[in-house]
Symmetry: C2
Subunit: 391 residues, 2 copies
Amino acid sequence: MNNFTFYSPTYFVFGKDEENNAGKYVKRFGGRKVLLHYGGGSVVRSGLLDRVKTSLKQEGLSFVELGGVQPNPRSGLVYQGIELCRRENVDFILAIGGGSTIDSSKAIAAGTVYEGDFWDFYMGKPVTKALPIGTILTIAAAGSEGSPDSVITKEEGMFKRGASGEAYRPAFSILNPALTQTLPPYQTACGITDIMAHLFERYFTNTKDVEVTDRVIEGLLMTMIHEAPKVIENPNDYQARANIMWAGMMAHNNCCGVGRDQDWASHDLEHELSALYDCAHGAGLAVVFPAWMEYNMHHDVMRFAQVANRVWGCAMDFQHPEITAKAGIRAFRNFLRSIGMPQTMKELGGKEEDIPYLAHTAAYGNGNNGTLGGFVVLQEEDMANIYRLTL
Amino acid sequence: MNNFTFYSPTYFVFGKDEENNAGKYVKRFGGRKVLLHYGGGSVVRSGLLDRVKTSLKQEGLSFVELGGVQPNPRSGLVYQGIELCRRENVDFILAIGGGSTIDSSKAIAAGTVYEGDFWDFYMGKPVTKALPIGTILTIAAAGSEGSPDSVITKEEGMFKRGASGEAYRPAFSILNPALTQTLPPYQTACGITDIMAHLFERYFTNTKDVEVTDRVIEGLLMTMIHEAPKVIENPNDYQARANIMWAGMMAHNNCCGVGRDQDWASHDLEHELSALYDCAHGAGLAVVFPAWMEYNMHHDVMRFAQVANRVWGCAMDFQHPEITAKAGIRAFRNFLRSIGMPQTMKELGGKEEDIPYLAHTAAYGNGNNGTLGGFVVLQEEDMANIYRLTL
């Protein structure tokens, strides 16, 4: 196990109707003038936005609004948000939505108090200062509600890039599983895939003697496998939604990623897919991650056999561990298919002839030096090979 | 799953040599005049205290000292600490030691800024204000390094009581597994037992649909079962110590206890044992907890079968689940014996004729109303029966 620090100071408020306490928490964490940031019509149509406004008014808080966040949130709206916050002297940002809305809120929070272009943070500058952020989560997936991370797409060129810093950790996050019940099965499945990907990115490590984090990751993966079929069958299953939502937070606040090298190549490979084809992040991961596993399995067959045996219940083949390892990858593919996720790049609108561009951008974009990943260090050619496995 | 809030703002610093950064963290969290609080000679003899002092001096911080914390920390030393802190205008308490030292530090931290008797907090008054606390942990066990809890023994009558409040969460905690390598096997095993007890107290719940926290608890229990034999065989196994230490934190910061009713009767029953016989907390738990399980198994046989199957690897008997449930309890007893823990009250110096007193104090002490526990609500007679099973 490596030395590490772990810091997760977000105040989590979990359960039914808790969005009605939003005003109380904004006040508790120092907000006086709030930007309400959200996406499309569902937050409005469902009455959620009105309930939050009522809660703010009850606490005597004033607010301005900025809707219109898209999946794969864009830099254009971030610039608008920054201008609005400065003009209106906003001192607190309340994100109402999923990972995209939260990520957009984080970018606005940092950009408002920064003299330069907020995009600097997405080109590698550490985020050290930002307005405080609260979130009301409407989709279990991103983990952005407890993480120090944000991903934004720059419209010029459709570059999708990440930024990170402790100032990006939300002061509070309200997680009401009932708010996720209106999500259609496809988006629900995308969220489930994303949560599992966050766990796998941490699981595949070269660091030895990390039993405690291995076991927690495995437990969270088994939770997803156990609960996902329930919500696909019955989107109104509050209890299954609740289990998935808390697993999503734990998957990404890094309590199970500490003390170990992590990989994250699959996320980088996926970001190129959703930037170019504007597909859902989870759908892109469903295509890329099993291919990444297949391509890299021989780097550490026993680690793949371990997850196959412990998580997927595949019998251990002690004479041929690679049989078990492969069975685990197959089980993951079968699971993804069972919840309605795509299997191939073509289903996302991808084309074989784009692969050289995708691999090159993945390798050299975002200030990368030509390689991706920590478990296996991928060269541009490996990236192209992995994309090819998804055809 | 129940509604809940989760807040764990402690900054954790984990790994080799990190105690040399103590001064840096005290400063970061606002300390200027520090009370160094510790127990017996090992902190001094090992050179740890000197390293910490050097680190404080490097940051220009001044300090006073109070040693002498005993296992089952006493109120007398707390009163001394409060007086010292007031006289010296101490604004930060740095605990160097295990759960006892941290718990004593918490009591001093609250008592220093409270006009009344600090014991009020241990009679049920919520702790809302305390000096900031840092910890340098030398034993993996208590979880006090990340928890809002403290337990103190009042010398008049040897009453052992707990207090709780967010102000008791340490600002930072330094966890260096190497510092635990000098612990003798018996104390190490006591710590391991305590960690597992923290997990079981949360596991045995009547709340339904808590798969995510079930799975995390199970993962942490399996970690303990996997790592414990290594440190018992080789106390210098840094990696096993590291896994146990992080599991100990996760077992007790409540990330795996949220959204579910918990039990805690075994802890209350144990507190009476260690208060009367001055035995180690973990040793008392090793005696009480399996008896509690045996006594209450029929309340929810399937829950006991689940842990037996998932954690202890007992084959599920689908026709007679109670066979599996019992096998799990037996496996726990065998495990405790294998790490050198006592099995009976007699080994702790307990006597059968004390049982009525123990049961009565457990039932009616600490402001209790005659019952203990949440999974099964125990009456005084049940408590006596459980003690009797430990003879």
